[in-house]
Point group: C2
Chain length 422, copies 2
Amino acid sequence: MAPPDNHPASIANQLESLPLKARRALWAELPNDSRGEVLAYLHDDVLQTLLQEMPVEEIAEAAEQMEAAEVADVVAMLSEEAAQEVIDSLSTEDRAQVEMALQFDDEQAGRLLDHEGISVGRKRTAGQVLRHIRARRLPNYTDKIYIVGARKQYLGAVALADILEAEDDVPVGELPMIDNLDQVGPEMPLADMAALFRQKHYVELPVIGPEGIWLGRITLDDAMGVIQDEADHNLLGMAGLDEEQDLFAPVLTSARNRAVWLGVNLLTALLASWVIGNFEDVLGKIVALAVLMPIVASMGGIAGSQTLTLVIRGLALDQVRSDNWRALLRKEIGVAMLNGVVWALAVGLIAWLWFSNPIIAMVIGTAIMINQMVAVLAGLAIPMVLERFGMDPALAGSVILTTVTDVVGFLSFLGLGSLLLL
Amino acid sequence: MAPPDNHPASIANQLESLPLKARRALWAELPNDSRGEVLAYLHDDVLQTLLQEMPVEEIAEAAEQMEAAEVADVVAMLSEEAAQEVIDSLSTEDRAQVEMALQFDDEQAGRLLDHEGISVGRKRTAGQVLRHIRARRLPNYTDKIYIVGARKQYLGAVALADILEAEDDVPVGELPMIDNLDQVGPEMPLADMAALFRQKHYVELPVIGPEGIWLGRITLDDAMGVIQDEADHNLLGMAGLDEEQDLFAPVLTSARNRAVWLGVNLLTALLASWVIGNFEDVLGKIVALAVLMPIVASMGGIAGSQTLTLVIRGLALDQVRSDNWRALLRKEIGVAMLNGVVWALAVGLIAWLWFSNPIIAMVIGTAIMINQMVAVLAGLAIPMVLERFGMDPALAGSVILTTVTDVVGFLSFLGLGSLLLL
């Protein structure tokens, strides 16, 4: 609820909060020399809505204010021709950096390579390094200095605090190197890179290329962006909204994105209906079953989605693994059995009182027990299998789960009903 | 998938991945002098499982290695007596800091106050400041120096980079102050504080108390913890798992937490069943309605949860506000109308082919149209109303939404069915 200010991030947030027309109007009012910085703060989907409106020269001008990784993002959204024009407009050094970033796809750490990190030879003294820092300004997110050999091979890193503390004439190679410092490879998946930052609270990490060459660094700033995107993806993905980071995406685009999800869900709903359709006989005779059947499916869906959510989070945090899923399975089965019994009794009692029929009560109670167990097993297995096959549990998990709990719910309830009530 | 190492964060992650018994066994093996650091990386729920097993003296020993904010977290989980014992065991300075943190609740920025920030008088020279930093070691997450008056009143902040660049004898008060730097009040809600870091990519921010006194700082490290917790909360909350950050919470605890959610959902399912129960008449005569009715409810639920998720994310990012919800409403209605028509026709056609009855097709098509519109309105209104009344949209939103889409779905479908088919 901060008051609007001139910070590029605040302007970016304001742009993201506006419908398309107003967004473009505000964009048109921004002075040219602040646009690059604002673009750097936008989510990709929103960025694209603005790039569509900008002449190539304007994009090139904005690119001058952006870091290589950000320019690479922008360039990747342009037509081949426009992309080349923007790249050609850059200085030789910037161009080389952008072209390097573009060698990696947008799921690899190399795409976020930062070239502002400080690297020095091991014979340089602390005093020389300090003068070097003073001469070129301390880059943001700097807490270490990288020590490299003559061919830029990575030798280790020294804390900036240690450089500041050291006597002027001590060679940095003699200062204590940081122990067990993780390294990032340029082809490392962003998720793995972000996990290092998330777990160990780094401010920056070295990026080491083939033959141990120091290529640059990744900063916490960029890692945070990845972490945020992951959280966004998990949240939006579970509602099938993965492609809709733009609150004001055009109606047609939004409708199309969501239609896919609605369509997939229709298939699962049809499957459930088909299951129900096989029991027309008993449904026609005992209407109470039609009245009660959504309860079985919905209780199963809830229990399953609880386990599913827990496992999706556990996979994202690297806490659900092949060495502990059995223990998790045991725990979740315990939970399902407890809740299965409790809610089977509760719902059974309600059904009995409602329809004065103890057999209906037994049927719904048993069906709920069965569905609770299946729900928990599905909630655990589905994301792990999806992950094993390289698919995204957050995106596909909940549809598959609901299909299972609906089908099993209707099948067990109506199946038992046919057996015992006809 | 990083190999296990000795970093406290890695040990913490390993502890969180273990069932209770194995967790306690690993904990018992850890050397005493690394325990404090490990505790600091644990989620609250897991932290509690370990604290329960530790004698107070051991907790006090671990507390020595922790920062004030972390000790405050631990102390808040202990019995009053044990808490006092831990606090009493601290040095005078640490005790004062912990007691200060405990003046604020765990949703306020003051709880995360960091006392390592560097503050200096405006007449100190850059050289003096540099010597000061060298003498006491540059704290982690430092990129600015705070300038304060004689009574510690906050005057502004200077970039560490500017201090390093300045001539030795320039007073820091004459260096350029950072423009528009945000400030944090000790009572600021954590969510607002975290939003500043998330939006503007700060490394640290000053905390200013009553009468403009500089109290200390908040670091990006702590802000990231809050941002992660928020993401966790949004994801887990939507499945009613807010209290279950511990993957291996005891079965009874887990079952109880989830039972609450299952119970709430049972109430909504019963409401839906009651609606259905009012149409026993038509259901007994036209079994096709029982077969098809879950489709209407489930398509509405999906559409509604898509809008709901988008709005919950928008509220969290401060992008859905009173000044733009009308525009969002227009867009979402447009999406609902498009998808309503498309899926009404599709499902209508399928129903026609399946049951060879054009009236059933018309009934289900119309019901789907109605439910899509209601779903989108509910998805937009529910989280905004909850937020207005200070309730948590991520936690209560999806249950209320499903209730609405189930009730409206069954009511419109079976209601129209009664009117047109009996």
